[in-house]
């Protein structure tokens, strides 16, 4: 071959290669065709070379892989069923109508707190401003509903305030996220309890929701957390305290959205007998 012809051939082939490279980077189908040709022509040779035996060991190994993936899937389902059973057996959900859901996404808000997305939406019967509970207690409330998902404002988010009853006496108060101007430092993830009436909470008191009209947004009697510390007396009328949430918000997985039950039947009147039971 003449040197000139050879140079021309080189230029042509290099240009073709460059064109194919650009086509591949641009995602054209022609490049995939070339790729398939490579596999089609040389794949059988490679199989023969690597001596891939279609024998018993091969089949057993394949079966092994299939069974392993099956076991993993079964374990996952069992775990899910166990957690759902826990949730349904929990005292938090006894006697309530609920929609089970799973957390599919979680977002940490730059302002603090977090919101999570559940895989249940309005088609599943979830309404905005429903309570969301886990087996341990209150998780938060539904703020946005789409047909198949819903967003939940988790307890402790900025702007989430829950009316509560504290301790055996049922003192009224509110639980909110620790505000930036809080006089007392509180551990990360804990909540601030402020009482409405002049009373002093005790460490170990259980904090439960007060409940709202028609159970919207919070149903009554859900466990919010436990008082872990009481702020020192600085002369304020009502004392504040630190509450550790009952639910670990970092690890919530299976939850239940409580379906609010509206009362349709009027309450029956009762007559006091004057005799203590």
């Amino acid at each position: 071959m003449q040197p000139y012809a050879r140079r021309r051939l080189l230029v042509v082939l290099a240009s073709l290669t460059l064109a194919l490279l650009v086509a591949d980077l641009a995602g054209w189908a022609a490049a995939d065709g070339v790729r398939r040709v490579g596999g089609l022509a040389l794949g059988p040779v490679q199989r023969a070379l690597s001596g891939a035996p279609r024998d018993e060991i091969d089949a057993v190994e394949r079966e092994n892989v299939r069974l392993r993936s099956l076991v993993a899937e079964q374990e996952r389902q069992l775990d899910e069923a166990r957690r759902l059973g826990e949730l349904l057996g929990s005292d938090q959900t006894t006697g309530r109508t609920l929609v089970p859901a799973r957390v599919v996404a979680t977002v940490l808000s730059p302002l603090g707190g977090r919101s999570v997305t559940l895989d249940a939406g309005s088609r599943d019967g979830v309404r905005a401003d429903s309570s969301v509970v886990s087996a341990d207690g209150l998780v938060g409330r539904v703020v946005t509903v789409t047909p198949w998902t819903s967003d939940v404002q988790v307890l402790g988010s900025t702007g989430s305030v829950v009316a509560v009853r504290v301790g055996p006496t049922g003192t009224l108060g509110t639980v909110s996220s620790p505000a930036p101007g809080d006089s007392q430092p509180r551990p990360r993830g804990s909540l601030r309890l402020s009482l409405i009436a002049p009373a002093t909470p005790v460490v170990g008191d259980v904090v439960r929701t007060l409940g709202s009209v028609n159970e919207t947004p919070y149903a009554a009697g859900l466990r919010v957390g436990t008082v872990t510390a009481v702020d020192p007396d600085r002369g304020q009328v009502a004392r504040a305290a630190t509450v550790r949430p009952a639910v670990d918000v970092d690890a919530i997985d299976i939850v239940a959205v409580l379906v609010p039950s509206t009362r349709a039947v009027p309450r029956t009147e009762s007559t006091a007998t004057g005799r203590a039971q």
Binding site: L13, A14, T17, L20, L21, D24, Q46, S50
Partner: protein, 166 residues
């Protein structure tokens, strides 16, 4: 153009080398970082005897063979272009008057360096990080294998040309 024995042998070598380094060596337990670039050795053996243009052409075609051996490279066509430049650089080492034994390995080192730079550059562009140690090991193993193979290739090439078979 009639196919010559030399041309057939070269094509066969490139094909076998590509299959060998993609399929057989990993199967035999050779770590990927130690697999030598056997195709490049063949390209340099041609380039150092025939000059840059021939070397570039051989590099481009051999690069395509190596690229099409599954797993097919991505992006398609980058490896042939890099190999083409490697062959071109290897061809620059041609000195018809000299018969020094060191020239072919030196050409291989230069060509392997070009291929190394090309791979590293594309890896940086594509992934943002490179396995520098592994690449240098691959270069070392390529040169080591080349030192053993190149004299035999060059001698075979010369013998076939002398007998009008190339």
């Amino acid at each position: 153009m009639r196919p010559t024995l030399l041309g057939v042998l070269r094509t066969a070598y490139v094909l076998v080398a590509a299959l060998f380094s993609a399929t057989l060596l990993p199967r035999l337990g050779v770590a990927p970082r130690w697999v030598p670039d056997l195709v490049l050795v063949g390209v340099v053996a041609t380039a150092v005897l025939r000059g840059p243009v021939h070397g570039a052409l051989a590099g481009l075609l051999a690069g395509w063979v190596a690229e099409l051996v599954p797993p097919v490279g991505s992006p398609l066509g980058l490896a042939p272009l890099v190999m083409m430049v490697g062959g071109l650089v290897g061809g620059l080492f041609r000195r018809p008057a000299s018969r020094s034994r060191l020239r072919a390995p030196a050409a291989l080192l230069a060509a392997a360096g070009v291929v190394l730079v090309g791979r590293l550059a594309s890896a940086v562009l594509a992934e943002g990080s490179v396995d520098l140690g592994g690449s240098v090991m691959r270069l070392a193993s390529t040169v080591a294998v080349g030192v053993l193979l190149l004299p035999a290739f060059v001698a075979l090439d010369r013998a076939l040309v002398r007998r009008r078979l190339g």
